[in-house]
Symmetry: D2
Amino acid sequence: MSPRPIELRSDNSAGVAPEILAALATANEGSALAYGGDDLTAQLRDIVREVFEHPDADVFPVVSGTAANSLALSALCPPWGSVLCHETAHIFANEGGATSLFSGGAVMHGLPGEHYRLSPAAVQQAFDRTNWGDPHHSQPSVVSVTCPTDFGTVYTTAEVAALAALARTRGLRMHLDGARVANAIVALQCSPAGLTSAAGVDVFSLGATKNGALSTDAIVCFDPAVADQLVYRLKRSGHVASKMRFQSAQLVAYLTDGLWLRLATRANDAMAALADGLRALDVTFLAEPQANMLFARVGEPAAVALADAGLLFYGMGNGVIRFVTSFQTTEADVAEVLTRARSILAP
Amino acid sequence: MSPRPIELRSDNSAGVAPEILAALATANEGSALAYGGDDLTAQLRDIVREVFEHPDADVFPVVSGTAANSLALSALCPPWGSVLCHETAHIFANEGGATSLFSGGAVMHGLPGEHYRLSPAAVQQAFDRTNWGDPHHSQPSVVSVTCPTDFGTVYTTAEVAALAALARTRGLRMHLDGARVANAIVALQCSPAGLTSAAGVDVFSLGATKNGALSTDAIVCFDPAVADQLVYRLKRSGHVASKMRFQSAQLVAYLTDGLWLRLATRANDAMAALADGLRALDVTFLAEPQANMLFARVGEPAAVALADAGLLFYGMGNGVIRFVTSFQTTEADVAEVLTRARSILAP
Amino acid sequence: MSPRPIELRSDNSAGVAPEILAALATANEGSALAYGGDDLTAQLRDIVREVFEHPDADVFPVVSGTAANSLALSALCPPWGSVLCHETAHIFANEGGATSLFSGGAVMHGLPGEHYRLSPAAVQQAFDRTNWGDPHHSQPSVVSVTCPTDFGTVYTTAEVAALAALARTRGLRMHLDGARVANAIVALQCSPAGLTSAAGVDVFSLGATKNGALSTDAIVCFDPAVADQLVYRLKRSGHVASKMRFQSAQLVAYLTDGLWLRLATRANDAMAALADGLRALDVTFLAEPQANMLFARVGEPAAVALADAGLLFYGMGNGVIRFVTSFQTTEADVAEVLTRARSILAP
Amino acid sequence: MSPRPIELRSDNSAGVAPEILAALATANEGSALAYGGDDLTAQLRDIVREVFEHPDADVFPVVSGTAANSLALSALCPPWGSVLCHETAHIFANEGGATSLFSGGAVMHGLPGEHYRLSPAAVQQAFDRTNWGDPHHSQPSVVSVTCPTDFGTVYTTAEVAALAALARTRGLRMHLDGARVANAIVALQCSPAGLTSAAGVDVFSLGATKNGALSTDAIVCFDPAVADQLVYRLKRSGHVASKMRFQSAQLVAYLTDGLWLRLATRANDAMAALADGLRALDVTFLAEPQANMLFARVGEPAAVALADAGLLFYGMGNGVIRFVTSFQTTEADVAEVLTRARSILAP
């Protein structure tokens, strides 16, 4: 009999939080205006303004993080612009050119940086190498940070603020890919505004799908001029759901009474326990896991054995494997993972 | 006390069918591979092949009808091509240039036609006026029909087949905007294949949202080369939901055991009853309502009075109002609408 | 022996004016900075400001009228916008979707209008039918007039100014396709500014190729913010010639001492003589020829006979033929055309 | 009195070869069909087929190298594709995102490589890192080499052929940016076909402007299916000159009786003499100058002194300066440059 599989491939493999499903059922009573003219969408806007502490904040539900990132960036970056980001950023490496499509040909500029984080020095160097105003060269127009990064590290609020301030020195806008932003906020123990509006972020992707929503993320925008564009950009890219109230209902529930942060806390706590346990087995990591992702160097034979033992994860090549926890990962899951890992890594 | 509002604005204002909500709850058990690598998505593909009777059919869930139409068309039409459609077609008049965006600048060519339907004569005339091969002129590349039309009329399967055959004479592809395709199939009492694969349609938009799904429509594609493109086109436009199984689960439930046709039958039957009742009041219509939409000439004063009486509908200007029924419209709703209408239109 | 062919197909079939060729030879002395950093390009800017009486005018040489129109429009119209123009406008009917390409999917909206001219009433009607601010619908963003039109009629300066004023009422920009603008200015006996900057035009295409230049037209722009965009839009579309001085030299010669107007006068005068002669033969025209184009109803048999008689022209179908004169059309040419026409039309 | 300036900034600063100007004057006799329907354009096609030894070759004159590259690449690379090139390639670093614009969002992937040349190893590594068929990732679709490179080095014909063969192993197309291809052919002493059609190149940019033409380069295409696309892509990007015969006349003269190679020989010989002279002064170079470009390490003080001495060149920073010779650079120029350089570098 094969062992019970334990899900650590991705928080995208997790399901929908019961609170979110309940909100959908509630929203299903009665009828409502389509295309966001409903009460729940209005309520969502109010909550976003409150939670992210910005009177002009606007919010646009979308079906994916790629949509959130690329549409937001297309409203921040002219066709002849470039987006500066870390060379491991999802927008650079994993979105199939979405931002180039939506922006009319803008380019992504991947920069190196320790701990998978963009550094002010790298941005400054990119600035220094730019022929500003020379149309032979794409003009840096946006700085984008991913927090947590795709490798599970987290920028401090001060680091984000410093990058935003640096961006401003040359007139660039600041974008944050927050596919897992709840996990970052929990990790940093900061306020939601602290990592976003107060840090100088203009627009960010508010991930919810990976943290318990049903295919619903959102763009949150602190600049009304950008929001005005997004109204059109979303519609003409097919990203306005006619029954928007079902997206809004989820996001309202998600942001109300801290549900999103409680869900993220579960994922982060599970990861912390998993990391502690692996460290005790002398496993080393590509980076210190600060949120809910961990990249462990176990070697290929152990990777195979762990998979055979029923652990579900992604291999990154060269004996490195990726574990991702979610709001559904239980303490029992972690304990069982560590038991199986121990038998393989420290028999 | 104001009268109970009765929803006739749009089938987009309706909610989610209980069977669909139940399918979501079921799909929420366990975890699954993201991005369509799950069992439910595989199952969906099988069902689509069976229901639409085509061994190579493929299916791509998306969040909106605009996404379904514009992405499908971008895979059928080169950047220098044009899409021939009726001048009232949603793709021409209501999608904010989505197809132009996704295709890299293709143009929509709206043609006149009685009963809001594209005629072979209009298409032939467009062909005759084309300078084929002359790059000064966008080259007709796709014929697109909307069935039911945005004005509630329906093409017969023979009419669709005739247009598809005509399209083939000049190498054009055939697209069907099926935002309400279930209502058409019910109205025509044809098989699902009869209006699509067997009629020579290459790709169609399978609407589900207006008929009881939760922000889930789909592209159904009978040409593997087009499907190969769509894999990329959907991802890079942000239209691949990571938790795709929740879309697939809905569509599986929708297409299984004829649920979609039962839901559409309710809407169509409600509309038939409503139309009969209005006719008895000597109300005339822009077109004979063949599915679940009706455009009634009532005059502006009556339109105001009907709204005051609690009927929810859209005014089209010049005293014409639009009624749309959905799977949630009950016999009691129709009876009540007619009672109120009678008191205003035939007091 | 076949008769001497006489060129009336298009002013594009004409050659290069000797004054322009001489300017090229002069510009070929010495070397110069590339990409517009040369003295001749600076001189061109000064001349444009003087001739079109606008202190902020800027000028961008390009290789074709399609480039001039579509790049200018892409800087005036957002991706979700539409350009209102006459349904016979070159930008709508003959540029293969160029503006849609460069603007990221904007749409052209062709409107009817007598004498091939856009009327304020048609524009107002388009405004009235627009759902302003509704992203389902492309938002009218530019009014574009072609002067002379593609059918040889000319707007008065007051008509252009009225359209520009109407455009302003809804925040639209005003564009003029001036592929043959010199012919219009000569026909109107107005100042160059009178038809452009003083009439409220924001950007226009300054055609020169059809009137004696060597594949050189230009965008003239009265709005520095638009010019800032064009710097990038031209470069990234490959429309910045490295040896720009050879384009600038032509345009400097063209605009200096009225050469452009003298060349256009020749074409217009030739057309006036031709039209008089044809009228004397009872030939009727699609429209009164006001510049250098004429569409004559001669019937198909006469069209064939005229072609056999060595006249080079385009058939438009239904027995209508197009004659275009150029700066190279001589009085002798016109006399000979009329002689041959007389023998066929009034034997 | 300041010293006579000597032009070494760029071959773009040079003028038009007298033979080319003469060809323009000849082409100016008579009238001709517009848009490439003329005899000279037909003649050009024949010459291209002969010179590049390919029966299906087609040729499209354009106004700039950026146009030639980006339009060609847009016909070779799908919107979701990527172009592999050296990280110093003009298409990657100096065209302002032109290919992304024309392709609908394709991305350029700059790879490292010694001597500014793309190596098979770098391409193979890029292949190995690609998730083929995964739409999260842009799919490598074209390999593009620049020959000579932007740093004056040259690929051998065997190196180009090896890269083309490698590209074919994964179905990629092969593109060559030949902005200075005549200089490469002269340097390699190969046949024109040897570096292009016979080496497995599908499409290349035939630079002529830098080597004596008047703002005229061309796309040469060995694949009829690609040529079919280019007909539309050029027109709708405004890159079809109505008076195309004046571009074709230049290119006919250029390719006839080896004029292009004689002009390039002058530039290369001048560079060889210049390099020899500088080497004798112990100046070192970033790379061995194999064509008509040289990057010399002279230090900032000497760079300033050389500029003060009347030499026109570009500073690259860090005391490196770029010299470019052209067909107009004379032996006397080189001697004079070396005399001045000697007085500064070896006083």
